[in-house]
Point group: C2
Chain length 230, copies 2
């Protein structure tokens, strides 16, 4: 297994679009395989054959790979992409992926539609309570970033109103208030019968990121590693 320890250079918008066109469908194919892995009832020999093939594909992909995680790679500075992000990463098969858009009248308001399948199950037929917290943490972080007040989660309080069924769901989040590097945000998950989960959280910009932002003009976008979409 060889590892490429070099950081790729800053990439252009054209290269970025090309890479998304290559990686997004590949990641989606692996996402489908994850779903099929959970749900398949084919015979044992077919499972074993699939396993051998999957291992062979993995070996080929690992012939050249980054060390560690994606965060420190694939675009620097303004071009940095949260491609590995567990919720929004276009290169992460674990991510549904959530694609939040600016919508609504509240400060930093973001909304998303998502369909959660078998991979996100807790109790039978229901979204894992922790998955709801995971999605809301990301959405609240997105709202903070959309309001140009990005930060890392300091606390997240999640309150479950009713069970969240697997299937199509809506997510929304917005900023309640902010004070220097601190931003308070709220959000909720909406199922077919209304709100299922609500969350409230505090996001704080770490000092090193504050220094980085201070070097930029006030009209620059905040760093994309704090919850923004790629």
């Amino acid at each position: 297994m060889s590892v490429n320890p070099d950081r790729p250079p800053e990439i252009s918008p054209e290269e970025l679009a090309e890479q998304v066109a290559l990686y997004a469908p590949f990641t989606q194919a692996v996402r489908e395989l994850v779903d099929a892995t959970i749900r398949t009832t084919v015979d044992a020999d077919t499972v074993r054959a699939a396993q051998a093939e999957v291992e062979a594909i993995t070996a080929r992909l690992r012939e050249q790979q980054i060390e560690g995680s994606i965060g420190a790679h694939f675009g620097h500075g303004r071009a940095r992409q949260p491609w590995g992000n567990t919720v929004v990463g276009v290169r992460n098969p674990v991510a549904p992926p959530v694609q939040a858009v600016r919508e609504g009248d509240r400060e930093g308001e973001v909304r998303a539609a998502v369909v959660l399948g078998a991979a996100y199950e807790g109790p039978p037929g229901l979204v894992h309570g922790g998955v709801s917290a995971l999605l809301l943490d990301q959405m609240l972080g997105n709202a903070a970033a959309a309001a140009r007040k990005p930060g890392m989660t300091a606390y997240l309080n999640t309150s479950y109103q009713r069970p969240t069924p697997l299937g199509p769901l809506r997510l929304e989040a917005w900023v309640e208030r902010s004070e220097g590097p601190k931003t308070w945000a709220r959000g909720r998950i909406i199922g077919p019968e209304g709100t299922t989960v609500e969350a409230e959280g505090l996001f704080v910009l770490p000092r090193w990121a504050r220094d980085l932002l201070a070097q930029r003009s006030a009209t620059d976008a905040p760093p994309s590693m704090f919850g923004e979409q790629g």
Copy 2:
């Protein structure tokens, strides 16, 4: 794509062991593919070839599969396995998987060691704040179940002390107190430099599950869909 809508029958301990021996290594292979999908830097043609092969494997696996999610399948009653669970499911490639064991002196105390890789990233090099909440929700639920007071999450308050690095982590959770169908639990994530995230939550057994439990002897195990290990 054909779908098998029939519930498989209750399975014996021997069949269960056989199925785990078949599915656990297959799921682990897909988990490795997920990691390689995120980290690979092989050329575009190799990515496209891998995508075509993954799609072919998925199609074969889907020739026979359960409808929907795993929760309602694969063992009924006492034999029910949370195999699809996002955190502990042995058939879910999204699950690290966390394997919690009874350990420690506190009521319902459970502990686990886990290594989180590229798929669980939020900020560069760090565990996604929502993933920490996801793991803690499961651990607190496990503690409630281990104390024979299982329930679904009513609220989960997660507090972030310091960033959680990707890599090896320890998890622990225990029951603080309980009152009828309500159980309060606490837990934390411990990284190389100490506690990174703490959580406190309330778990409530739904009425339908209370009725189910009342039909069983007091020495029976609680239903495994509420946070217990498979």
